[in-house]
């Protein structure tokens, strides 16, 4: 509100100088602030009809038991109780958290290490080519990434071929079909998709760091590790925050990769909330339960993203 008072006192000062202009400017100012609503209205309408209304309906559906066709029965918070009592449902949520390790921790950690190593040659021609190449996974449909990797990770795929070639023939298997390796294998696909993005974001952040900081560290005889810890990481607070936010959302809300690569199987070992919602709502006709899981998923995403934002933006 101080802004409004400032405007008003400025207006007043102006009014003393030239009284006739004051009223027109005032009227003009007011007209513009309301004309603006005409500009916002179309966007707001589309957003309200196709996002806010469904969002509200998700909450409403989640309180009923409904098969999508017949009459619905009020069950209060019953559906939420089922989400947290049913091993298959909360298992999907736990899987999503396990995926954070692959979608977030590995790309951000590895991305930091790679970016720090290639920082000194960031302007070379090789690095410029690399900038384009490592971006490919961001451009292609995740569906295609899923198909390509299902093939790589299959029993006759390239991954097993390489393992056999280096004498690890004993561990080869159908990675996406094995109960113990399916979830990590899905995680590897996600890591592949997100590693390039994280590396480039962090590298872009590093090139903005004042080189004098590095010079000073070197003159003080700091080791590469010390330099990384005391100069690089603290200066990249914001970029790291962005990477973590984007990748955590990608992990919790994953759908495309799992849908293509494993469809949640074998068993339920790679089931994630997004896919479970899809199955519950459209195959098992448990619309209420699907909606309750959807609400839990949205709350989880917000619950993870808000603290990350708060922690990394604190200073600015």
């Amino acid at each position: 509100m101080p802004r409004a008072t400032l405007d008003r006192s400025a207006d007043r000062k102006e009014a003393q100088l030239s009284p006739p202009r004051r009223s027109t400017r005032r009227a003009d100012f007011r007209a513009r602030t309301w004309v603006g609503w005409g500009f916002v209205a179309p966007a707001l309408l589309m957003y309200a009809v196709f996002v806010l209304r469904p969002l509200f309906l998700t909450f409403e559906y989640s309180l009923y038991r409904w098969d999508g066709i017949g009459p619905s029965t009020w069950v209060g918070l019953g559906n939420y109780g089922r989400v947290f009592a049913d091993r298959d449902l909360y298992g999907a949520i736990l899987n999503a958290f396990e995926l954070i390790l692959f979608f977030s921790v590995i790309p951000v950690g590895l991305g930091l290490a790679i970016a720090a190593t290639i920082r000194s040659i960031a302007a070379s021609r090789l690095a410029l080519i690399a900038r384009t190449v490592v971006f490919l996974p961001q451009v292609i449909p995740l569906v295609a990434a899923g198909i390509a990797w299902s093939w790589l990770l299959s029993s006759t795929g390239l991954v097993n071929q390489i393992l056999s070639a280096v004498g690890l023939g004993g561990v080869t298997r159908a990675w996406l079909g094995d109960f113990s390796t399916a979830l990590p294998a899905v995680g590897v696909i996600g890591a592949w998709v997100l590693l390039g993005l994280c590396t480039l974001l962090l590298l872009a952040g590093m090139t903005k760091i004042d080189p004098a900081l590095y010079e000073a560290a070197r003159i003080d005889g700091a080791s590469a590790w010390r330099e990384f810890r005391s100069v690089t990481v603290p200066s990249l607070r914001q970029e790291i925050g962005v990477c973590v936010t984007v990748t955590v959302i990608a992990a919790l809300a994953s759908f495309d990769i799992v849908y293509i690569a494993t469809q949640g199987g074998p068993g339920n070992t790679t089931m994630v909330p997004g896919l479970e919602i899809y199955y519950l709502a459209f195959s098992q006709r448990e619309v209420g339960l699907a909606s309750a899981l959807a609400v839990v998923l949205m709350v989880l995403v917000l619950g993870c993203v808000l603290p990350i934002q708060w922690l990394t933006r604190e200073e600015s």
Binding site: W37, V51, S124, I249, I277, L302
Partner: protein, 274 residues
């Protein structure tokens, strides 16, 4: 900057490894696509007689021409409209400073992190009640709404940094808000608008969830949605599936290679703002 030669060398090796890791799936897809249809080739193995015809077979089997046409229609339905609505709203919130702009911005920001799965169920019943189910409108209209939070936020970030003198000068010349918007602000916003256009194109083209839930006929879906169906149909014929995947990748890859600088810049900027 003090750079030792050893550092530069490890950097180069690491870069090459990173690129190899990124490209590996594409190479594997390509080599496999050349094997005789219906066989189970070993990972990376150049075939004795490359079957280039697989691409033609896959193109026909997947009704690729229809799919590409359908995706183009959907992109044309989503992107220009989203750009227009978002630019108008971003201008009003960022530059005109409408009454209640904080609340408006907050309302849009609320949707920034929303996973599409969160509202897909009601969206299905809503499009059904609107009689749009199984038509391309069922993908186009919800996508415009779903893209609004990011797009408005993006355009507002541009307009909020435009100097106010610019508008005041024009206002003294007697230009109305509408002319001010079209004659002065839209031309100046072109870089922001075109970056947003690239992002929206990618997100529309690659959209899977909305396509498989809201449209049951694969030839009316986006390419990504159709690829899902194609996998179900041809999942056992690996060389054909690989050929089909490559064909579906080709258009985005081509666009990416032509506009690569802009793409990389927009994507980096896009994730920083989002």
């Amino acid at each position: 900057m003090i750079v030792t030669r050893r550092e530069a060398l490890t950097g180069r090796i690491l870069l090459v490894l990173l690129m190899a890791f990124t490209v590996m799936p594409f190479v594997s897809l390509f080599v496999t696509a050349l094997h005789p249809s219906g066989t189970y080739p070993l990972g990376l193995q150049w075939p004795d007689h490359p079957h280039w015809g697989n691409f033609v077979t896959a193109f026909r089997a997947a009704h690729m021409a229809d799919l590409l046409g359908s995706s183009v229609l959907i992109v044309l339905g989503v992107v220009p409209a989203s750009l227009l609505l978002a630019t108008l709203a971003g201008f009003a919130i960022g530059h005109l400073r409408v009454v209640g702009r904080r609340l408006l911005l907050l309302t849009f920001v609320l949707g920034l992190t929303l996973p599409f799965e969160g509202i897909i169920t009601p969206l299905y019943y809503q499009t059904r009640d609107m009689g749009l189910l199984n038509s391309r409108w069922a993908i186009i209209l919800p996508l415009i709404g779903l893209f609004m939070p990011f797009s408005v936020y993006w355009m507002r970030a541009h307009f909020v940094n435009m100097p106010r003198d610019l508008s005041e000068g024009a206002q003294l010349d007697g230009a109305g808000v509408w002319q001010l918007f079209w004659r002065i602000h839209v031309p100046l916003a072109m870089p922001a608008i075109s970056s947003l256009a690239i992002l929206l194109f990618l997100w529309t083209w690659n959209q899977l969830l909305l396509a498989i839930v809201l449209v049951s006929d694969p030839t009316k879906r986006t390419v990504a949605g159709a690829l899902g169906a194609f996998q179900g149909q041809w999942g056992t014929d690996i060389p054909l599936l690989c050929a089909g995947s490559l064909l579906i990748l080709a258009p985005t890859l081509a666009v990416f290679i032509v506009f690569q600088r802009r793409f990389v810049a927009s994507l980096l900027e896009g994730s920083l703002k989002g």
